[in-house]
């Protein structure tokens, strides 16, 4: 069984992301499943960032530490990840950085500098890279110092170009040395570098030379390392994509015609990828419309308020409309979401959660906006909230969100987070089969009668939807009568409140139970984990380990958070010995919902609060502590 983890660290703007992607590609070409995520500061250049990768022959579900390899492109990376590499693992670092003192690294967080100073002072050592290397060697880590300056010179000599013009290849030098320790052949590295830079020949050539120089150095200095065998997933075309990109793809093939956005991390990359693909050939639709390429209106707005309001206008006119944002932008959208409920507008808001409150940590993950998503908007504003656990779910959910928005004429919040946004995974053709979900637009009439009633009171609460411009009509954000005229009449008011409530009940009835929750593992297990969103795969991966250790766990994953699937949850939870909520928020938002909607009280928590993704090993640790010591709340803190 192959199960590798590694970290590539370096300064932002120093090619860490490309190195990570090359690594992923090398292993995919080799036949493995991969998962890689980028951890970065809210900074353009210079701050520490790292790529964290897991490679497996089975499903690569989650990240973990300690890792088997840390490639440190700069001094800060060695010191930052001193606790992340395990016994028997490798550290690849820059020999020229051994004298660098942590207290002198300006870009390092001051708190980390202090922690390092204390850590080394306790051992009567200076907080330098050299000390870190020594400590790691004592722990049984194999260290490889690269003479980076000399190696760059060799690249420059080989190509006959100045060092400055190829200095950026340090990332590929470091990465190649790292991959060498894991038995990846030069041929696979070159193939991955080609896949990364193939369309940019000027960048490609120096990087291939850099890979060769690094590989030769390792052969001469480290000696032979047995080649990693081929993985089981060979001989087919696969896709490597981030969560942002997968959601964008789902929207494009799922019928999006109008997307607005205001730049915000970690949502913008989704909108960017839509913009990149706003005018592409869409198979049979291109034939049907006799257009080689199908236009999608994409617009960057002046703020998130405009983004949601513009999407609402487009939706009222009949477009399949969406916007995407993160917590701060979603806060700004609240009033318009309330309007979309009152006006009964089909609009999708893709909400990529990040660490709050306030601007918080803009580039890091969290699950703190669950309650905000569900209860967004003033007044009684029920809406649909669906949370995806991974890329594959995110793909189908994005299409379903559109369908539900239009079938029920309601805002739908598609809840995701920064971890899924910037995590890259490998997908097969069957993972993203858009035909698994049909495309439906609900009760839509293109030629309404002259006396069309926009808010016709019906048994199921759903009024036929006619787009603006098809008849005289009124969409109204004021309370209204059936025609949409503003009305403060108490009977009209009650009728409309009841109509919207019935519609919400219709939604709850119409969404199949199996789409509301997912129950993983042995239903008879006495330990039950409840969670939602991107913790899914870490929990599933942890369950495999717990099973090996004889701990049987079942996992109730909530997929639809609003309308809350009370009955499905109660049936699934039953009467467990132990109920644990796994959440990346401080107040236990999911547990609050459970208590409010089912009366079930969660007494044990595994929480991740440091704005880093949840690791499978952390879930294992948390469950064991709760089982062993009856711990009420286990806070897990992995990640640098």
């Amino acid at each position: 069984m192959v199960d590798l983890s590694f970290i590539i660290g370096g300064p932002q703007g120093g090619g860490v992301e490309s190195a990570g992607q090359i690594a992923l590609k090398a292993f995919v070409v080799k036949g493995y499943n991969v998962l890689g995520t980028r951890e970065y500061h809210s900074n353009i250049m210079g701050a520490h960032s790292y790529y964290h990768v897991r490679v497996r022959d089975g499903p690569a579900r989650a990240l973990k530490t300690p890792v088997d390899l840390v490639v440190a492109i700069d001094a800060e990376s060695v010191l930052t990840h001193i606790s992340d590499v395990g016994k028997g693992g490798y550290l690849v670092y820059d020999l020229d950085s051994v004298d660098v003192d942590a207290t002198k690294i300006a870009s390092m967080e001051p708190s980390l500098r202090s922690r390092l100073r204390r850590f080394f002072a306790d051992m009567n050592m200076k907080p330098t890279v050299g000390s870190a290397v020594k400590v790691l060697e004592e722990r049984g880590v194999r260290t490889v110092g690269l003479p980076l300056k000399d190696m760059l010179k060799k690249v420059s000599d080989t190509l006959g170009t100045p060092i400055a013009s190829i200095a950026k290849t340090v990332n590929v030098i470091g990465l190649t040395a790292g991959l060498y320790t894991q038995g990846v052949s030069l041929q696979h590295i070159v193939k991955a570098v080609e896949a990364q830079f193939g369309r940019r020949p000027k960048i490609l050539a120096p990087n291939i030379t850099a890979a060769r120089v690094a590989f030769e150095f390792m052969e001469q200095n480290i000696g032979n390392i047995p080649e990693l065998p081929d993985g089981p997933h060979r001989g087919r075309v696969r896709m490597i994509a981030s969560g942002n990109e997968v959601v964008a793809m789902a929207k494009v093939v799922g019928g999006l015609t109008f997307e607005t956005f205001y730049p915000i991390t970690p949502a913008s990359d989704e909108a960017f990828y839509i913009e990149e693909n706003k005018y592409v050939e869409l198979g049979e639709l291109s034939e049907k419309l006799e257009l080689d390429k199908i236009p999608i209106a994409v617009l960057q707005t002046e703020d998130e308020i405009a983004a949601i309001n513009m999407a609402i206008g487009a939706a009222a006119a009949g477009a399949r409309a969406a916007t995407s944002t993160s917590g701060p932008g979603f806060s700004l959208m609240n009033e318009a979401i309330s309007m979309a409920v009152e006006m009964e507008i089909p609009v999708v808001i893709t909400l990529w959660m990040r660490a709050g409150p306030s601007t918080g940590i803009a580039t890091r993950t969290g699950q703190q906006d669950l309650l905000h998503a569900i209860f967004s908007g003033h007044g009684d504003t029920p809406k649909i909230v669906i949370a995806s656990g991974d890329h594959v779910e995110a793909f189908y959910d994005a299409i379903k969100a559109f369908n539900w928005a239009e079938e029920f004429q309601t805002p739908v919040v598609h809840l995701l987070d920064k971890y899924i946004a910037s995590t890259i995974t490998v997908l097969d053709e069957w993972d993203l089969d858009p035909h698994k979900v049909s495309i439906s637009r609900g009760l839509r009439i293109e030629n309404p009668p002259e006396d069309y009633r926009r808010y016709e009171v019906t048994d199921n609460g759903i009024s036929p939807f006619a787009p603006l411009g098809s008849a005289p009509m009124l969409f109204s954000s004021l309370e209204h009568d059936e025609h949409g005229f503003a009305s403060e009449d108490p009977v009209d008011r009650e009728a409309m409140v009841e109509k919207r409530l019935r519609k919400f009940e219709t939604i709850a009835r119409s969404i199949p139970e199996e789409e509301k929750i997912a129950l993983h593992g042995d239903p008879s297990a006495r330990v039950t984990i409840v969670s939602f969103g991107s913790t899914k795969q870490a929990i599933l991966s942890a369950m495999e380990e717990l099973e090996r250790e004889g701990v049987r766990v079942k996992f109730l994953q909530l997929r639809i958070l609003s309308p809350f699937p009370s009955k499905a949850v109660m049936d699934a939870v039953g009467d467990p010995e132990l109920l644990i909520s796994v959440e990346a928020n401080a107040i236990g938002q999911l547990a609050l919902l459970l208590r409010a909607y089912t009366g079930i009280e969660v007494k044990h928590f595994i929480q991740k609060l440091n704005a880093r993704p949840l690791y499978d090993v952390e879930v294992v640790y948390g469950v064991k502590r709760i089982l062993g010591e009856g711990a009420r709340r286990v806070v897990v803190s992995g990640g640098a």
């Binding site: 995919v28 036949g31 075309v237 696969r238 896709m239 994509a241 793809m249 789902a250 494009v252 093939v253 799922g254 109008f258 005018y279 592409v280 050939e281 198979g283 049979e284 639709l285 049907k288 419309l289 390429k293 199908i294 236009p295 209106a297 617009l299 707005t301 002046e302 308020i305 405009a306 309001n309 513009m310 609402i312 487009a314 939706a315 009222a316 006119a317 399949r320 409309a321 309330s338 309007m339 006006m343 793909f395 053709e429 993203l432 858009p434 035909h435 495309i439 787009p467 603006l468 411009g469 098809s470 008849a471 005289p472 009509m473 009124l474 969409f475 109204s476 954000s477 005229f485 503003a486």
Partner: protein, 309 residues
Amino acid sequence: MVRRWADYKTEAWVQWCPGCGDFGILAAIHRALAELDIDPRRLVVVGGIGCSSRSVYYVRGSNVHVIHGRSIPVASGVKLANPELEVVVVGGDGDLLGIGGGHFTALGRRNIDLTILLFDNSVYGLTKGQAGPTLPVGVKTKALPYPNVQDRVNPLILAYASGYTFIARGYAYHVNQLKDLIKAGIEHRGSAFIDILQPCPTYNDMMTKEWYEERIYYLNEEDPLWDPRIRGPEDHVKIPRIVEKMLEFGDRIPLGILYQDLTKTTLEDRFEQQMPGYRKAPPALRPISVNGRAPVHPFKVFKDKLIET
């Protein structure tokens, strides 16, 4: 069929105060629509919150009444989703220049083919007479306990700086002249802005009918050769005089078309240019699926993400 102005009335009770300037503006809107013979089914009037925004209930159309300050983005969404529709925004100075000020300026940059009718009475009527963004500093209307400590924004200059390609000013009680301005605004291709001076007899006891009528005059009456149209670079010499007239607001207040740029493309044009087919298959109307199914597999579209193993 030629439509009459009464065809644009609705059965809703017009709930403005007696003598309100809004009545004159509403009459001018009805008449302009009739003279242009616009099909009420294809007309979208979008309003925010305030007395004037209520006009969405008083004009027969396919209309939207939205939250405070957001009529411009909603209207923009409607127009971009279906460029064939005739989209008109109605709102007060509080709605369009106060809470909605950011959207007001953003629209100029886009030059979407919308017509913005600003019912400009310098007060927040529905909330009982607080100072609006066009109320001059030092003025104490009867609802204000102290004189206004914030100065007025100049809507015309703001519109000009933002990029509106049609800028005009009318007066609520001059229904006929106002009707002509509204027609010209609707017929203009691009973002058209009409600042409509409008007494609020209930709350603005300073800028009254008499106050306005002592000051207003029509540019084309004073100067029969007044021609604010920009047809090409050779007309840029007109700009200083145009801006001078936009700045004039005191003893004399000019009315009429102050500026019209015929050289700029609309956002709809720019979409069509980038994506030929946008107007033929607009976002609101084009099919999105084939037999209820997604038209294509992502592996066939997003080839930059594929890798052979």
